[in-house]
């Protein structure tokens, strides 16, 4: 964002006072301040008038751009419904109530400051409390003076629109997390105390005076029991689950190791043979739990699941006797007449009442080509309305769970083969058999001596516990995920980093990926002479429609407008230099001039232009490529097989063909993209598909790694494995190199832990694996892995782009 601001400064473009985005077209001015859109300006005014201008007293404007905010008055009407309200309201004591909202836009200290002063904006709000980790806001309010809907609208007006959860309650505290802290605390407590009681014996070299050794043994067993039964229980349940599924994961040898360790210790203590391995046992559980905690923390930053659920409709407009009324979709009954607006999802199986319309099923099938409908056609739940609002009759109401199931369509949910799961599964089976065989071999070798036989066999199983290996992946990948998240690449799972590292082919989509989706749109003339284009652009400057604004962008066209009328939804008509100019949709031109232009299918978003009553040509939207993207593609081309699959029949094909050294295909339908990606995959190359997820959801799902490009973090795509912020895309070569480093670190950790195992196993087979040797070897190996994983990734992370994105 910073570089964009700098490069634009020379052309006298200022940044928005509220959100810091460059004010490219039609900036809004209020006094000395400039805003990128009216939304930002109104938030600024609201805060200023409430005496909260200190919100802006930090380095960069902290606000969230309101340009894409969809402020619909009815958006929060659903909160008036008690059934929905109970999902948010934690308690309602009559005079005071408390509600919890999910607010995905919370991101910094300034957000926190502002939210906690929300009471200044409305006297009905008593206090508000923000939670940056889970991006949740709790609001205490007086139901007598402000409704729940009012609170939500206040939050929205302050620039932080809450997301109403589809099911469940907002911001539920993950119970598993609290449990993990407690398990870790119990293990740490036991580890420390048992170590304390074990050291005297190690120093002494022989059992202590009888009374003390007995006391210490009893204490050790007392402390170790809760570790076995409570702290380590997660490892036993997951090992049991994997055994039942007939899969040997690495949890199996861990569980075997832990059980053998504990049983052997008890046996040693009871028979008076030795002091047992309880210190190593508790220490091992402690380190393993640290690994789990680090992994959890990395997950916390990414609210993947919640974000894609926010696409789901909560309520729908139902036409009743008293006009349109928002109704929760659970209340829909057969025969209701509903109105679904563009980009909204049809919440039930329905039938079209309007003469015609269009929907796409991108979320259900991955196919985003709109389906044209005529009156009486069936529309399936999950379709997204394209173009204009549709009026429908409900044929079959649909439950939320079925809608959620549509989202979790097998095409999207199909589990991908992850390299890490493959390796750990194979390794788990190998490791378990190897340890068992070696233990048997050891027992046989020492056989006549039954005592040594048992001792060696158990020692092998204890030391062969692959704790360092199980620590390596979560710690390294958790750190990598966190560092990726800081620069604007969000992975669905840590293991995705390893698959990114193994990428051999990169396939790009064009529109919205290589080109910008929203900012800096321009339009070009199709079939008009220069002078006609000038007239059209001059008229377009009078209109607020996106295509008109794109036409008028850049150096201004001269001309005298004597008459101008804008028809919302149609176009603009007026007189420029005495000539009658009409810019708008084909039907608008038909209505104004009596001729119906036929729009070529491949034209894309465009407006027709008629001058003096005859149709002259089109204005077509073009999107400029992102800054630095061509260099990035060129750099990627030196080490990867880079392809372009574009849905457009492109005017700029020649240029893109050159950038991609001819490896470019145009006019690709979503299905063609899917087939192309699948073809690459079947020849053994591992494909990274980069697309915007709108017309290539299928290809994203088919690729080894599907990376969705988003200019708006709140908007995520169900089919992808990773989401990258649009302005980070030119940094893709650096990000991929970092992913390769992550893989190297994981492999190095594996190597080191195998080395420890070799040392430990030779000690065990020689019958010399004393409790002291284990007590030293075990923590050292775990700590080395911790340092290598977390430290190594942070070291390599210095190469990542500096500026934190949000």
């Amino acid at each position: 964002m910073m570089d964009a601001a700098l490069s634009l400064a020379s052309t006298a473009v200022t940044v928005c006072r509220h959100c810091g985005d460059p004010c490219t077209d039609r900036p809004v001015r209020r006094g000395d301040d400039t805003f990128c859109c009216r939304g930002c300006a109104s938030v600024y005014l609201l805060l200023h008038n409430a005496g909260l201008a200190a919100f802006y007293d930090c380095e960069a404007p902290p606000g969230v751009s309101q340009r894409r905010a969809r402020r619909r008055s009815a958006q929060y009407a659903v909160l008036d419904d008690p059934a929905v309200a109970t999902r948010l309201v934690a308690f309602d004591a009559g005079e005071q109530a408390m509600a919890t909202f999910d607010v995905p836009d919370l991101h910094c200290a300034s957000c926190l400051w502002l939210i906690e002063r929300l009471w200044r904006l409305d006297s009905g709000i008593i206090r508000a409390d923000a939670d940056l980790t889970r991006r949740v806001v709790r609001v205490w309010f007086r139901p007598s003076s402000i409704s729940l809907r009012g609170v939500a609208e206040r939050l929205s007006a302050a620039g932080y629109p809450p997301v109403v959860p589809v099911e469940g309650s907002a911001g539920a505290v993950p119970a598993a997390r609290r449990g993990l802290y407690l398990r870790l605390a119990v293990a740490g407590f036991a580890f420390g105390n048992i170590m304390l009681f074990s050291i005297p014996r190690y120093v002494n070299g022989a059992p202590l005076e009888d009374g003390f050794q007995r006391l210490f043994d009893i204490l050790n067993v007392t402390f170790a029991l809760p570790v076995l039964l409570y702290s380590a229980s997660g490892f036993f349940t997951s090992a049991w689950q994997s055994v039942r599924l007939r899969k040997v994961t690495l949890d199996v040898p861990i569980a075997i190791g832990l059980v053998v360790m504990f049983a052997r210790s008890i046996a040693d203590i009871v028979t008076g043979y030795g002091e047992g391995y309880l210190d190593s046992f508790t220490g091992l559980v402690f380190f393993l739990l640290i690994g789990r905690l680090l992994q959890q923390k990395a997950f916390d930053r990414i609210a993947f699941d919640r974000s894609f659920r926010s696409f789901m409709p909560l309520s729908v407009l139902v036409r009743g006797a008293d006009g349109l009324r928002p109704t929760p979709i659970e209340r829909l009954t057969e025969g209701d007449t509903i109105v679904v607006r563009p980009y909204e999802v049809v919440p039930a199986d329905a039938e079209l009442i309007d003469a015609n319309g269009a929907v796409d099923y991108a979320f259900v099938t991955g196919e985003s080509r709109p389906v044209a409908l005529t009156r009486g056609d069936a529309v399936r739940a999950g379709g997204r309305v394209v173009g204009r609002s549709l009026t429908l009759t409900v044929v079959r109401p649909v439950s939320h769970s079925r809608l959620a199931a549509l989202w979790n369509n097998p095409a999207f949910a199909r589990p991908k083969r992850r390299w890490l799961t493959d390796v750990t599964e194979r390794f788990g089976a190998f490791f378990t058999t190897f340890a068992l065989l070696l233990a048997t071999a050891g027992a046989i070798a020492w056989w006549p001596d039954a005592r040594m036989s048992a001792s060696v066999a158990t020692a092998v199983l204890i030391i062969a516990c692959p704790c360092a290996i199980t620590l390596a992946a979560p710690i390294t990948l958790g750190t990598a995920m966190e560092l990726f998240g800081r620069v604007g690449l969000y992975l669905k799972h840590g293991a995705v980093a390893l698959d990114l590292a193994r990428t051999s082919t990169i396939v790009f989509d064009k529109t919205g990926t290589l080109t910008t989706a929203t900012d800096g749109l321009r339009a070009e003339s199709v079939g008009l002479s220069d002078d006609e284009w000038r007239l059209a652009r001059r008229l377009a400057a009078e209109s607020v429609h996106p295509i008109s604004r794109a036409m008028a962008a850049g150096d201004s066209a001269h001309g005298v407008v004597t008459e101008c009328a804008e028809h919302p939804g149609g176009g603009v008509a007026g007189s420029v230099d005495g000539r009658r100019v009409v810019v708008g949709s084909p039907s608008f031109i038909q209505q104004q001039c009596g001729v119906t232009p036929l729009r070529p299918a491949a034209l894309g978003p465009s407006a027709g232009i008629a001058i003096d009553g005859t149709f002259r040509g089109w204005a077509r939207l073009i999107a400029p490529p992102r800054d630095g993207i061509e260099q990035a593609v060129a750099r990627l081309g030196t080490s990867y097989d880079v392809w372009l699959l574009s849905g457009d029949r492109d005017e700029e094909a020649v240029r893109w063909r050159r950038v991609f050294s001819g490896r470019a295909a145009f006019s690709q339908a979503p299905d063609d993209k899917l087939v192309a990606v699948a073809a690459h995959e079947s020849t053994g190359s591992r494909v990274l598909m980069v697309g915007d997820g709108l017309n290539d959801a299928g290809a994203l799902a088919a690729a080894n790694v599907g990376m969705a490009v988003s200019d708006d973090t709140a908007c995520m795509v169900p089919a992808c494995d990773a989401v990258i912020q649009g302005r980070r895309l030119p940094d893709l070569p650096v990000l991929l190199r970092f992913a390769r480093r992550a893989r190297q670190v994981v492999i190095a950790c594996f190597a080191v832990s195998i080395l420890y195992n070799v040392v430990g196993l030779s000690l065990a087979l020689a019958g010399r694996l004393t409790p002291l040797a284990t007590a030293i070897l075990m923590p050292i190996s775990s700590l080395t892995i911790l340092a290598m994983g977390a430290g190594g990734m942070r070291w390599f992370g210095r190469a990542l782009p500096r500026e934190a994105a949000r």
Binding site: G51, A53, A54, D57, C58, E59, A109, S110, L112, W113, E116, R117, W119, R120, R127, A128, A130, D131, L132, T133, R134, V173, R177, R178, Y181, L182, A185, V186, F189, G192, N193, F197, F212, L215, L219
Partner: protein, 64 residues
């Protein structure tokens, strides 16, 4: 020497006390959000202040 036994038991009890205190802190939700409280303490005025006593310039210094 039996005094050592006493000390060990006392030490264990103290440690167990801290473990219990930690368990209570986790259970009461103090570990649910570790990002906001360290920032919140840097703001000068508490949200409970009245609107008038809260001058506009009072809270900007830390976030620069």
């Amino acid at each position: 020497m039996s005094v050592i036994v006493l000390l060990i038991i006392a030490g264990g009890l103290v440690a167990a006390g801290f473990l219990a205190a930690f368990a209570w802190a986790v259970g009461s939700g103090q570990y649910d959000d570790m990002a906001s409280p360290p920032l919140r303490m840097l703001f000068d005025d508490a949200p409970a202040d009245s609107a008038h006593s809260d001058s506009q310039g009072a809270s900007h210094d830390i976030r620069r």
